[in-house]
């Protein structure tokens, strides 16, 4: 039998969400009036029509095996209305239009080992990257970091007791796919790449790699008869940007690849303009399987934030009020020369005033 002719793809793009949307949400599209949070993990939205929709927000392991996924869908079909969505932080959400369905669903969700919470001023699900499970350039395993950390922060996922919402992110390389967060736990490399010179010419498009370096530290070279690349280690900032286009320039290291913690990233325009996260701690060992040093530091920062910040202050709002002097004083974290920026535009981050805190 002749092989089937290959089928051209149907370039349908992003599907229409309406076909998978709860009928109450379809009916009241664009007609919502307000919302309340009857309990942590539950949202109640009320439409101008008087219709109501209840949302139960759930923390999961993010990487879902098919058994867990079928348990999630079973709960939706048997106890709910059959509708599910995911927030951009991978929180799972069930939507039902009858308040009476909420309590039995919560019971079933918790029985299935999932966690109800993540609404309002909680530590909601961290957004994170693939790590050692699937990425080709990871210095760490974000899934493991998140699992270990959330085991210790789970009560703050379940209770709405933080000053405002807390978004945590983790990333396995300095590209930072986890994104900006109130707290970010990200890989920080501390040594230049180790180059397998005999492999470079075959594996890498060398001009591309030279162009990729943010500090122009890479140049073509000949080593032991191999056309290759060399790194000016005095200039190198150990960012790892050369590694994805040139895997023989190995940046990851079992010892010198470490973790750093950044705080105060906030995507929202509420109150101040959006902010990027800032370095507060580094040199944290990349210590699987449970990364206890990273979790301890995150908890230390969160404890001070929870005690000291006022209602509605996100991490960046709080630090703006107490100042960075106040942040380092209150957390007891060391302030080093590495905290002072020297990248382009850095002078704008210096204090050009007599606004001094004591």
């Amino acid at each position: 039998m002749a092989a089937d002719k290959p089928k051209m793809p149907i370039e349908s793009g992003a599907p229409d969400g309406f076909q998978y949307m709860h009928p109450t949400m379809r009916r009241n599209f664009g007609q919502w009036k307000y919302h309340e949070r009857p309990r942590p993990g539950v949202l109640k939205h009320v439409a101008h029509s008087g219709d109501e929709i209840y949302t139960i927000r759930v923390g999961t392991s993010r990487i879902l095996d098919v058994f867990t996924l079928r348990e999630i869908t079973r709960i939706a079909n048997e106890l709910g209305d059959g509708f599910i969505r995911f927030t951009i932080r991978s929180n799972l959400e069930y939507m039902v239009d009858d308040e009476a369905k909420v309590a039995p669903m919560i019971e079933a969700i918790e029985k299935a080992g999932l966690i109800v919470g993540g609404t309002g001023p909680t530590i909601t699900s961290p957004s994170h990257t693939q790590g050692w499970l699937h990425c080709d350039i990871p210095g760490s395993d974000a899934s493991g970091v998140v699992k270990s950390m959330m085991d210790e922060l789970v009560e703050e996922f379940k209770r709405e007791e933080m000053p405002n919402r807390v978004h945590i992110t983790t990333s396995c390389c300095q590209i930072n796919c986890g994104g900006q967060g109130d707290i970010a736990i990200n890989i920080q490399h501390t040594k230049p790449p180790k180059i397998a010179h005999e492999l470079v010419a075959n594996a890498c498009e060398r001009p591309t790699v030279v162009a990729r370096c943010p500090v122009a530290a890479i140049r073509p070279a000949m080593v032991d008869g191999h056309p290759t690349l060399e790194v000016d280690e005095k200039k190198c900032i150990c960012c790892g940007a050369c590694y994805p286009p040139c895997p023989p320039m190995l940046i990851n290291d079992a010892v010198y690849t470490t973790l750093a913690i950044w705080v105060g990233g906030n995507h929202s325009n509420a109150r101040g303009k959006p902010t990027f996260q800032k370095l507060v701690a580094a040199g944290i060992p990349n210590n699987p399987p449970r990364w206890p040093e990273a979790t301890a530091l995150v908890k230390r920062i969160l404890k001070v934030y929870k005690e000291d910040a006022k209602d509605w202050e996100r991490m960046n709002d709080w630090i703006e009020r107490i100042g960075w002097f106040g942040f380092f004083e209150k957390t007891g974290l060391p302030f080093t020369k590495f905290h002072i920026d020297d990248w382009r535009g850095a002078r704008n981050s210096l204090n050009a005033s007599t606004h001094i805190r004591f």
């Binding site: 992003a14 229409d16 919302h35 509708f83 699992k147 399987p289």
Partner: protein
């Protein structure tokens, strides 16, 4: 149970302790309890290699080139560098799939997708990756085409990967949020579905990401993470239900409202009156959303809604972090003509990026290099003081065309006044 030796995973086993749901327990269930031996074996290899990563503190996957017929990107190929030790998962590719706008699913469609992935892949999936794709994680090269053909036939398409238009993202928006200022889902689909050719066949200098948020709370993190951020906003007066304001003030107390609402207004545009109503100075309001977030029953965005467009957001690589910056302060997107104008502008932005960016340069970096004015002029966009935090402060600029530029400004004003 797999008929091969199960790899020991003492370090991974530590991640089965604790209350937060464990991805390791989930993967182990596939290894130990799944009726399909192919899945048992593949996942056994995966766990073996992951344990090896935990022990060596190194990753052991490398990329490659795998796609489906007719497309250039969308599959993330992974070949094991330690396949001699863990041959069962030597090929472990991920299929990126574009989600529905707003990330809506029925339980039934999730089951259908999972059934098909179970037949062709590892039984592992993630909703969603950081750009917004559904990720079906782990299978061999041979299984990519049959899996894609199956799900493509009932409405699912591959996502973006590489230097191309990427999978787009929209917030929950008008489907459930009282803050929504636009049809986020509709805009997202119009914007990304028009450019599927540029999404499936990577040919741009680098990524082009589009995110749509329905209000300035920007729940999709568009300003920080997208080359093109489309954010719902309003330009008329905020809506105030003074009876609800009074109820809120009576329930919470005046001190609470002063501390948490009026004092937190970034432009001092809201005032609490003696009779427990509020006055809003809508000319000075910057539409930050804070008071509306706190008093969701009493305050709401206005009715004359549209979108603000910010261009050039990205993370560090290569010249440093960049927020998107305003290039269109306000645009109506109520009618199909207006939406088509936005789609057309998007196409021009993608074309300008394709023609002017250097290899591996994002739009924000290109604008940094050429200057915002060249970008705006290239696209024919009107200047507006809302595009800057402050005007130029350095006098080192040649300004011998001043009078012509002033004339352009007054001509635009006159044109707007007569329209």
């Amino acid at each position: 149970m797999p008929k091969v030796k199960i790899y020991d995973t003492p370090m991974l086993d530590e991640l089965e302790n604790g209350e937060w749901p464990s991805f390791i327990s989930g993967i182990k269930r596939l290894r130990d309890d799944h009726p399909n031996e192919r899945i048992n074996n593949m996942v056994n290899g995966l766990l073996g290699q992951l344990e090896h990563s935990y022990e060596t503190r190194m990753g052991w996957w490398k990329g490659g080139t795998v796609s489906v017929f007719g497309y250039g990107g969308g599959i993330i190929p992974r070949f094991s560098e330690v396949a001699e030790h863990f041959p069962e998962s030597k090929e472990f590719h991920t299929v990126r799939v574009q989600p529905p706008a707003g990330n809506f699913y029925t339980a039934d469609i999730l089951n259908k997708l999972a059934d098909d992935w179970e037949q062709h892949g590892s039984g592992l999936q993630t909703f969603h990756g950081q750009t917004g794709n559904i990720m079906f994680i782990g299978s061999t090269t041979d299984e990519m085409q049959p899996f894609f053909d199956k799900i493509n036939a009932y409405g699912w398409d591959l996502g973006g990967a590489g230097p191309c238009v990427r999978t787009a993202m929209a917030c929950v928006g008008a489907a459930r949020c009282e803050h929504s200022c636009t049809n986020e889902h509709g805009l997202m689909r119009h914007l990304v579905n028009e450019f599927q050719d540029d999404l499936h066949r990577p040919a741009l200098p680098y990524k082009w990401k589009i995110k749509v948020s329905g209000c300035p709370n920007d729940c999709t993190n568009a300003i920080e993470r997208a080359d093109m951020a489309v954010i719902g906003i309003w330009r008329d007066d905020m809506k105030v239900d003074q009876e609800e304001v009074k109820k809120f003030v009576e329930a919470k107390g005046r001190d609470y409202v002063i501390d948490n609402v009026t004092d937190r207004c970034p432009s001092n545009a809201i005032k609490l009156n003696d009779d427990n109503t509020v006055d809003i100075n809508n000319q000075e309001c910057v539409r930050c959303m804070h008071c509306i977030n706190v008093m969701t029953k009493a305050l709401a965005p206005g009715d004359d809604t549209g979108v603000t467009i910010l261009i050039g957001g990205k993370r560090t690589l290569k010249i440093g972090d960049m927020m998107g910056t305003v290039v269109v302060p306000f645009m109506k997107v109520d009618t199909m003509d207006q939406i088509e104008a936005l789609v057309e502008l998007t196409g021009e932005m993608i074309d300008f990026f394709a023609e002017n960016a250097l290899e591996h340069e994002r739009t924000g970096e290109m604008i940094e290099r050429i200057g915002l004015v060249n970008y705006l002029e290239g696209l024919g966009l009107d200047l507006d003081p809302n595009m800057v935090s402050e005007p130029r402060q350095c006098s080192y600029v040649r300004m011998d065309g001043w009078d012509e530029e002033v004339k352009k400004w007054y001509d635009k004003k006159a044109e707007a006044a007569s329209a």
